[in-house]
């Protein structure tokens, strides 16, 4: 078995925390795309879901910052933020501790990474799971790529990490789904919150959906930072997901800038081939 599902979506806290302040027509179309993604995820009948996120100093800080960390917990609680602020109440998600441990061991052949048996989910994982596993009944394996506190690993290594994830999942009997969640362009938590570079986003998405590795890894952080904001550095999660789905292209199910959500809201799913769905 290999990956049975791969996709990307946004995770900004405003998506749930400030939902009443968005244009309801656009917001509801965005929520509908999340729900379509949920249905596709469920139809793939996964045993576990890997979430490649870009957490925001909930678990990891500059005293000991892992470039990449994989969760190995029995369960995960969230949100670490004030539930009222985020608009999502307390949830406990099941982990997949043994599967995590074996995947981590296998990944270490290719990638240096950290692991964590304790992990509190912040909005970076809570918001996607709020829509995708609303019953919190699918075992989760969280993965974090540091996108917030430079130095950050280069995009080339994010793609390689995705490839490594694909390789280790292919060796497993379980049906494994994977999502990446982050940016794209945005200036969150700044005076420019709500600024979105739609042209930049659409150019990036074109490369992502075509899964053109060379073009994806050619982005330079200084350019991303200038043109797509410090939040744009979170494309690392998308690039890793593209690596996991190498050889496959994707479909864009939703994209619209929603300023009060402070991000170009995105839902896209990779078209994995039938022979890999089992």
């Amino acid at each position: 078995m290999s990956l049975v599902f791969a996709g990307v979506c946004s995770h900004a806290p405003g998506i749930t925390g400030r939902k009443e302040r968005a244009d309801p027509v656009v917001r509801d179309a965005f929520y509908a795309a999340y729900d379509r993604m949920r249905q596709a995820l469920e139809a793939a009948r996964p045993d576990a879901l890997i979430v490649i996120g870009a957490e925001h100093f909930a678990n990891f800080f500059m005293n000991n910052m892992p470039a990449i960390c994989v969760g190995m917990g029995e369960h995960y609680d969230g949100p670490i933020e004030d539930p009222q602020w985020l608009g999502i109440g307390p949830v406990r998600f099941p982990g997949a501790a043994r599967l995590s441990m074996e995947l981590i061991q296998d990944l270490m052949s290719d990638v240096d990474l950290a692991y964590a048996q304790e992990w509190k989910f912040d909005h970076g994982i809570m918001v996607p799971l709020h829509f995708l596993t609303p019953r919190a009944d699918l075992p989760i394996i969280p993965v974090n790529i540091n996108c917030q506190g430079p130095p950050l690993i280069p995009l080339r290594r994010c793609y390689e990490f995705g490839r490594a994830l694909r390789r280790v999942c292919a060796a497993r009997p379980e049906r494994i789904a994977i999502i990446g969640t982050g940016g794209i362009s945005h200036w969150p938590a700044t005076p420019d919150s709500g600024r979105i570079n739609e042209a930049w986003d659409r150019a990036f998405l074109k490369k992502f959906l075509a899964n053109r590795r060379e073009e994806l890894i050619a982005y330079k952080d200084e350019d991303i930072w200038r043109e797509a904001g410090q939040g744009g550095l979170e494309i690392r999660t998308f690039v890793a997901l593209a690596g996991a789905a190498e050889g496959h292209t994707g479909e864009l199910w939703f994209y619209a800038p929603i300023p009060i959500f402070a991000v170009g809201c995105t839902v896209a799913v990779m078209k994995l081939q039938a022979d890999e769905r089992g």
Binding site: F57, F61, Q230
Partner: protein, 101 residues
């Protein structure tokens, strides 16, 4: 190094119930645990969200301190704008403005 300590304090407040408890009951002793300049202590105590932003506190950490100190979303964004006007451009880190580099 001191900016690191400001952020470390906020990081602990965001995630550690014991630190939150001390914030509620004995904020001064919590501040005293961290090696902070007078300006940093003032900005945390006041709180001066705009000054903390200008110092270079990562927004993903500051966002939650602002919420903890009762800043509604629009007020929090406005506080950062006023901070830039009053204290100048962001001094360090990822949140400096492109034109300031």
């Amino acid at each position: 190094m001191s900016l690191y300590n400001v952020q470390k304090l906020m990081y602990q407040l965001n995630r550690d119930p014991a630190a939150r408890q001390r914030f509620d009951t004995d904020f001064e002793s919590l501040l005293a645990d961290y090696d902070l300049t007078e300006e940093e202590q003032h900005a945390l105590r006041d709180p001066d969200i705009g000054l903390l932003y200008v110092m270079g506190v990562n927004g993903q950490i500051l966002m939650h301190y602002a919420a903890l100190r009762g800043f509604e979303w629009s007020a929090y964004i406005q506080a950062m704008r006023e901070g830039e006007l009053k204290h100048g451009p962001v001094r360090a880190g990822l949140y400096t403005r492109a034109e300031g580099r």
